[in-house]
Amino acid sequence: MNTKILDVLKKYTMVFALIAVIIFFYASTQGKILLPQNINNLISQNAYVFVLAAGMLLCILTGGNIDLAVGSVVCFVGGIGAVMMDKNINVWVAVAVMLIGGVLVGVWQGFWIAYVKVPPFIATLAGMYAFRGLANVVMKGFAVGVRNETFLNVFGGGADCYIPDVLHGDGFNITCMVAGVAVALVYTAMVIKKRLSAKAKGYELQPLYQVVPKMAVVCAALLWVFYKLANYKGIPAGLIWIAIVLIAYGYITSKTTIGRYLYAVGGNEKATRLSGIDSRKVYFFAYINMGLMAGLAGILTIARAANAQPTFGQGYEMDAIAACFIGGASAYGGEGGIFGVIIGAVLMGVINQGMSIMGMSANYQSVVKGIVVLVAIIFDVLSNKKKK
């Protein structure tokens, strides 16, 4: 039994760390961190972290490769969109241009990395400078306001970016709560279905003492978050985008062949190549995809701020990379998953927000974030060492 408990502790270390951090901030902010409004802000303000981290995960899986340019790309793409909408170009055209712009950036960087074998660190470092510069060129160095109502509502900016309460609760958003219950039920049903089918086929089953508590914790967390949101203004638009991205990437990384190739290339590139898989295409895919996510993050960022500024997106690449590593992605590639990314991104968000509420100066906030990343990696390294 002891080793069993240890196994669970090890597997979900970061979840426990997250809970510990939440408790710490709950105590030190007199409970303010868990107020409905703060939960809502936590999601809306960090939407870009989830989106970028999902894209970054794919790059990191291919061998610890990172993309340093995403912050600049967010700014560049956001700038293009803001300028277009400022000139009254159709909002959906602007959105399409932003996403395509992100993809083209991905093609550009991916080409050098995959086919010319420029080390990703350097190729994207170049991109970091170049696209920051281009962002300034596009915006002529000034902030550009975003006033298009539709755009703001759909992508999580302004006051009305929530899913409307069609069930008309009084101060309590019933639609939101119903959605929460539905999500929890679907999740539970999927877990049970998977287990039953595995049992029917005689596969190895995860022990119940792991499955049941995990299911209970996830359901409780889901219901609790939706309850909090229902007490504020309901489901923020940002959450919808986060959910779409995370579900899509959860699926890609676990169920598709291209997802499998990402892990294989990161685990052993030569063996993968000799298995008839074109590793260049795999790198190319990872970076194009990163570009797409940077485009989406650009959209979310200018919507949230209701304007675009030449300084936007600074340090976003680091937030995304940190979320991946905190979430257990291996710095050498081949290991990691979307669940870890979620935990990593939430942990970063909670720490950011908790320190802000405590009124800690921004300078010290950076120090704390740095220490958290280091501790997470040290833990990863040490636990891997023990395995050997």
Binding site: T257, K270, A271, G276, G334
Partner: protein, 512 residues
């Protein structure tokens, strides 16, 4: 009887859940070469790690008595100070540094604040001479061959004032000539009074150099044979290693009909990918028929792997010329994917480097080369993948608790089976097996041979590359002999003997 230099008494070492060593006893006399043999995982390397202090005193039970004193080594430098130096299987040299720098790495000559380079290089040259290397110690390690690098490792050990030298598989990456030179060097050291322990899989080497042989099996010492009092041959040692008499090292292949030519290579020439003027494969012609095992024998560096990989979708080499026929039709295979589609499989000699994704489970490795077989429009059918992995696990009798086990946790023989499973799942007609039994133990070898027999029985063609003569002769129907990029001989296995194969190579060498 000479003086006992080293005695390891009742050594027991437990890892969580496993007893790696169980009351092991080892006595080494001064001035002898003591061979430690045993199957993979028998505990030889663990024993040497205990001796050298990699597992510090207190983590094991039992005593190490060296030179009459009980030793309690805490770390590797403690044992090195006493003159016990271990040379590991993997070369531990920094390629970008010179021989001299490598030799005194961590043990630099000069004062505390500055390295005395003149002293470093003159000392280094002295030790190089002792191991018979004529290179200057200023040459970079990456510019000399692996054989010479191994000698540099030995010179490095001598520079540490070694009295007891432990060589862990010293010849595993050397060709026959270099191996022989190394063994002769050991015999020369013995004359000068050096004591050595050699761990090796190659029994002919044991017979050649050892004074005494200790057999380790399942974590305990089974017996120690004195080569001077009894006659030693390879069969006698194998019997000790596996605990039973192996009457036939190669399973019989009966009633296999050899059919038409399945694959043919004509005028195949390949150049080195970096040194463009160097021919690695020179005008090779070969064919393999259905139901046939064709052996390619050659020393390391003869170009066998390069030939195989260049055929397999040009995954090696530059400026490849020649033609390739499969079932009588000429094909051009531009990459591994096209080769797989043409029903070709290449099972690499380098399991860890080129073959398997060690951090992934058996299931994932099994399907990797044929994802189309377990997926539909890019979506993986997890059930099917699992069933495929289980099917091959049972078929090849891979020893593992489950197919979800990471391949990195398996033994060499089982890893080889996973690798074979991966390629068998691509449903090939022609399999090129490159050193299929390298680094795996006697029992697992036999099972691999049985798998090869099953393959040809099913009408497949097998090309087996090997540098073990008995294996080539025992398993092949026909043998090609390769030397320095060229085929220098072809013979039926029934006509082949170790002598006439070696003669082929020697003649080719003289013909130059």
């Amino acid at each position: 009887m000479g003086k006992i230099l080293l005695e390891m008494k009742d050594i027991t070492k437990t890892f969580p859940g496993v007893k790696a060593l169980d009351n092991v006893n080892l006595q080494v006399e001064e001035g002898e070469i003591h061979a430690l043999v045993g199957e993979n995982g028998a505990g030889k390397s663990t024993l040497m790690n205990v001796l050298s202090g990699i597992y510090p005193y207190g983590t094991y039970e039992g005593d190490i008595i060296y030179n009459g004193e009980v030793c309690q080594f805490q770390k590797i430098t403690d044992s090195e100070k006493r003159g016990i130096v271990i040379i590991h299987q993997e070369l531990a040299l920094v390629p970008q540094m010179s021989i001299g720098e490598n030799m005194f790495l961590g043990n630099e000559r000069g004062s505390k604040n500055a390295i005395n380079w003149d002293e470093t290089y003159s000392e280094a040259d002295k030790y190089l001479k002792m191991v018979g290397l004529s290179e200057s110690s200023r040459v970079l390690v990456k510019d000399i061959g692996t054989g010479k690098q191994q000698l540099v490792e030995i010179a490095k050990a001598l520079a540490k004032n070694a009295k007891l030298l432990i060589l862990d598989e010293p010849t595993s990456s050397l060709n026959e000539t270099d191996s022989r030179a190394l063994l002769d060097l050991m015999l020369e050291f013995k004359k000068k009074g050096m004591t050595m322990i050699i761990i090796t899989h190659k029994l002919n080497e044991v017979v050649y150099v050892a004074d005494k042989i200790t057999v380790v099996r399942d974590g305990s010492t089974v017996e120690t044979m004195d080569c001077h009092s009894i006659t030693i041959n390879e069969d006698r040692i194998i019997k000790g290693m596996v605990g039973r008499e192996i009457t036939d090292r190669f399973p019989k292949r009966s009633n296999v009909e050899i059919g038409d030519v399945n694959m043919e290579v004509k005028d195949w020439t390949v150049y080195h990918p970096v040194y463009a003027e160097r021919k690695v494969v020179d005008n090779v012609n070969m064919n393999v028929k259905k139901g046939e095992v064709v052996g390619i024998y050659g020393l390391m560096g003869a170009g066998r792997t390069e030939l195989a990989m260049s055929i397999f979708g040009r995954s090696y080499g530059a400026d490849i010329s020649g033609s390739l026929y499969i079932n009588g039709e000429e094909v051009v295979l531009k990459n591994p994917r096209e080769a797989i589609n043409a029903k070709l499989a290449y099972v690499t000699e380098d399991r860890k480097g080129n073959g398997l994704v060690l951090s992934n489970p058996i299931r994932v490795n099994t399907s990797l080369a044929n994802m189309a077989g377990v997926s539909n429009k890019g979506i993986i059918d997890m059930d099917k993948e699992y069933q495929v992995a289980v099917e091959y696990k049972d078929k090849l009798r891979t020893k593992t608790p489950s197919v979800e086990q990471n391949v990195g946790n398996l033994s060499g023989g089982n890893q080889q089976k996973v690798l074979l499973a991966k390629w068998m799942f691509t449903d090939p007609e022609i399999l090129i097996l490159d050193e299929p039994t390298r680094g795996i133990d006697v029992g697992a070898k036999y099972e691999i041979y049985c798998i090869i027999n099953d393959l040809v029985k099913a009408g497949k063609s097998v090309v087996m590359i090997s540098s073990e003569l008995p294996e080539v002769i025992g398993m092949s129907d026909r043998i090609y002999i390769m030397n320095e990029g060229r085929f220098v001989g072809e013979m039926k296995a029934s006509d082949a003997t170790q002598e006439n194969i070696m003669a082929c190579i020697l003649q080719a060498g003289r013909g130059e």
